[in-house]
């Protein structure tokens, strides 16, 4: 009886130690930040931090969708928000970290350090750079009541079978930022008007009551749409090349895709390529979408008079999507010719993209790591950004067509 009493007492005492007493927090008092934007302003306080969280997102009025705080650091901004809002900020489900164009040209490491001071930071959140400001991007109201944070994340997740870009997480970004001989590459996105033509027409008409059309709003939206109409979609427009914690160059989407090809990360990407005119294979159309099914990129290095000479051997297995010629590709000669032409085009474009990246001093291809491993006695991490600019490149590409479609020739009316 005495022992039972003691056990009961022990249980009662232990129950007071349960952590709920200290850390219990009703969910309505938690603010789960789903997207965070960082912008840089020339005048102090320099940082403009934009916060998106689901409760805000539910209010459809545009002015309530995002909250922006100006402060001297991201940490200060989040602390101010925490104090004024009365909610406990959590970065546990952060989907995307959006860096504004100007902020990306400043050192980003203080931002990363501030975020890492939050123990629940989701390191799997994607890092993207936006054309313009992060505030603009996070103010986009995606169609069909999608949440912008989810929309941004799925934009990179749906890179499979689309002409987009692979994602880069905070963790990967940090490793690339810190390690000598490698740099980060992140997707470059931009708000666009809308992908819905009818909606674009309505918006343009609303913006220009006198009947004049606003430029760039419709037809797939290139550009930023009309000023009066809210942006409704986001598009990957290329990639940002980092050197340490600063962006040094941006690439267009085709350039970025050839860099991904050189990195061996273009598996399942769809690449739009232009072919030189050729009477045999491209009598009508010289642009073609290639679906990359398997990409192997082998880099080798040779030092010639202390100048690095890199050779890339690309082996690509792909499928054709919109071949518009009328040549029978089931014949070995024809398919071999096309494979050779594809190989040539991939080689030329990849070489140009790689040379452009190397000229910036950034190293998303991790060529410095190859140098470190292969020539440790010549490896100088501090000098690498200068050294890579003098590097010489050779690309050898081999393409293998896996799928040409079910039909041998184009289906069209015969003798009609």
């Amino acid at each position: 009886m005495k022992a039972k009493g003691l056990r009961l007492l022990a249980l009662l005492v232990l129950s007071t130690l349960l952590s709920g007493c200290w850390d219990a927090l009703p969910v309505e008092r938690r603010a789960f930040v789903t997207a965070l934007g960082v912008d840089w302003l020339p005048e102090p306080p320099h940082y403009n931090v934009t916060i998106v969280h689901p409760l805000m997102d539910e209010r459809r009025a545009r002015e309530n969708r995002v909250l922006t705080i100006r402060a001297n650091s991201v940490s200060e901004a989040l602390t101010v928000w925490n104090h004024t809002n009365g909610q406990h900020l959590s970065l546990a489900v952060l989907g995307t970290l959006v860096i504004g164009e100007d902020a990306a040209k400043q050192a980003l490491s203080p931002v990363i350090n501030d975020l890492c001071s939050y123990p629940d930071l989701r390191l799997g959140a994607y890092v993207i750079v936006t054309r313009g400001t992060a505030q603009e991007l996070l103010s986009v109201q995606p169609p069909a009541h999608q949440l912008i944070a989810v929309h941004l994340r799925s934009l990179l997740d749906r890179a499979i079978f689309r002409r987009d870009a692979p994602h880069s997480t905070i963790s990967e970004f940090t490793t690339h930022m810190m390690t000598p001989g490698m740099d980060a590459i992140t997707a470059l996105v931009s708000p666009i008007g809308t992908l819905d033509r009818r909606q674009a027409g309505k918006q343009a008409a609303a913006a220009e009551p006198d009947g004049q059309q606003a430029g760039g709003g419709g037809g797939g939206g290139g550009g930023n749409g009309g000023e009066a109409a809210p942006q409704e979609d986001v598009q990957v427009i290329g990639a940002a090349i980092w050197q340490g914690d600063k962006v040094v160059e941006t690439l267009t989407l085709p350039e970025a895709q050839f860099v991904y090809l050189a990195m061996g990360k273009a598996n399942r990407l769809m690449v739009n390529v232009m072919f030189p005119p050729d009477e045999r294979l491209f009598p009508k159309q010289s642009a073609m979408v290639l679906s990359m099914e398997s990409v192997t990129a082998n880099w080798s290095l040779e030092m010639v008079q202390e100048v690095p000479h890199y050779t890339l051997r690309l082996q690509v297995r792909l499928s054709l999507h919109n071949y518009a010629g009328d040549v029978d590709l089931s014949k070995k000669d024809n398919s071999a010719l096309l494979e050779k032409m594809i190989g040539d085009v991939l080689r030329q474009n990849t070489l140009q993209a790689v040379q452009k990246v190397a000229a910036t001093g950034g190293d998303p291809l991790r060529l410095g790591q190859l140098m470190r491993r292969q020539y440790p006695e010549l490896w100088n991490s501090k000098e690498w950004r200068n050294k890579i600019q003098t590097a010489q490149f050779t690309v050898k590409a081999e393409a293998q067509i896996r799928n040409i479609g079910l039909e041998l020739l184009r289906l069209e009316p015969v003798d009609k």
């Binding site: 952590s19 850390d23 546990a92 123990p119 629940d120 810190m178 390690t179």
Partner: protein, 362 residues
């Protein structure tokens, strides 16, 4: 103390695994890589091999005194004075180990998950559970270790995420990145992670089939070495050296990166599941501490001593200590622990063999 034969060979091995794996694995990739660079995983594997040799020596030492643990044979082997000094040193080591185990785990939970709860709360919970496990005796501890290790093993599959997402070039060159002194320093830095296997000295007398002990020592230390080596490989491959050496607890960071559509924060789940392993480690140390006090004071009751020791350790370590300081202290302690156990095995084994030979001749 009456020795009850109640532990199977498998439980003996699980007890060693449970005693070895606790908090050290959280910081192991960093502390090893800070010293041995890219060769850190080789240093960790090397340290595991060295620990296996010491464990086999300890096993041989234990086999010389069937039916008795160090609390019983130390004074017989070394004489009353030296024996008691050795017991006292051993007791201090066990007490420090218990305190470090509970405080580090409590500080990790407070730092990463429940930031408003004082770490003393978690330390208290771990210590109370450890005392309860100790009161269940070596057989209860062994059964608890079995369950805890089985629950913990599936977490190992999460290592596949950083391994697949990492880059093997971070691991190259395997040798040449650090000199031999760096390699040895890396192995030494892994000492804290390998501390605790000396529980085999205390569970050996309770084995149903003592001949199974060698096999249990081989597979348990081998398993732990493989886990530690794999964790270090994953840490280096995923983060690279420069990032890895700036993370206080890289293993937990790796776990936080593993995401599925259902569970996004595996590190939180892992920490809760890890509590069993931590209780096994602190429980084994508390058990050893209790038995060592009984060696010093033969008339002391086991249960009362265990409760008293647990209460004393809780009060002695009351307060909040920063995690960084605790981990630095643990690194120092690990070297002391492994040196003590190694020296004890190396010195006492010949003495024990001589004593056994004397007994046979006598």
């Amino acid at each position: 103390m009456h020795t009850r034969v109640c532990v199977t060979g498998f439980q003996h091995g699980m007890l060693i695994v449970g005693a070895l794996i606790a908090n050290g694995i959280f910081s192991l990739p960093r502390v090893a890589a800070e010293e041995a660079g890219r060769s850190a995983w080789v240093a960790v594997a090397g340290a595991g091999f060295a620990v296996l040799l010491v464990a086999l020596l300890s096993n041989r030492l234990a086999s010389l005194f069937p039916g008795e643990d160090p609390a019983g044979w130390s004074t017989k082997l070394m004489g009353p004075l030296l024996g008691r000094i050795w017991l006292l040193l051993y007791l201090v080591k066990s007490c420090f180990f218990t305190i470090l185990t509970m405080r580090i785990f409590a500080a990790i939970i407070t730092n990463r998950m429940l930031t408003h709860t004082p770490s003393t709360v978690f330390a208290t919970i771990i210590l109370v559970l450890s005392v309860l496990a100790t009161l269940a005796g070596i057989s209860g501890l062994a059964r608890f270790a079995e369950v805890s290790v089985m629950l913990w093993l599936p977490l190992l599959t999460l290592l596949a995420v950083p391994l697949l997402g990492g880059h093997l070039y971070h691991l190259r060159p395997v040798f040449g990145d650090a000199d031999i002194s760096g390699f040895l320093a890396g192995a030494k830095a892994a000492a804290y992670s390998y501390a605790g296997f000396d529980i085999l000295l205390f569970s050996y007398p309770h084995l149903q089939k003592p001949r199974e002990s060698i096999r249990a020592v081989l597979w348990s230390v081998g398993l732990v070495t493989a886990v530690y080596t794999l964790t270090t490989v994953a840490g280096i491959a995923f983060f690279g050296l420069d990032h890895l050496t700036r993370l206080l607890v890289p293993t937990l960071v790796m776990l936080s990166i593993a995401e599925t559509s259902v569970i996004e924060r595996f590190d939180s789940l892992a920490l809760f599941m890890w509590i069993g392993m931590v209780v096994v480690t602190s429980g084994t140390q508390l058990y050893m501490g209790t038995r060592l006090i009984q060696g010093l004071l033969p008339r002391a009751s086991f249960k009362r001593t265990a409760v008293f020791l647990g209460s004393f350790l809780l009060i002695a370590s009351w307060g909040e200590t920063p995690l960084r300081e605790l981990i630095a202290l643990a690194d120092l302690f690990g070297t002391f622990d492994l040196s003590f156990v190694t020296l004890s095995a190396v010195i006492l084994l010949p003495l024990g063999l001589l004593a056994a030979r004397g007994r046979r001749l006598g």
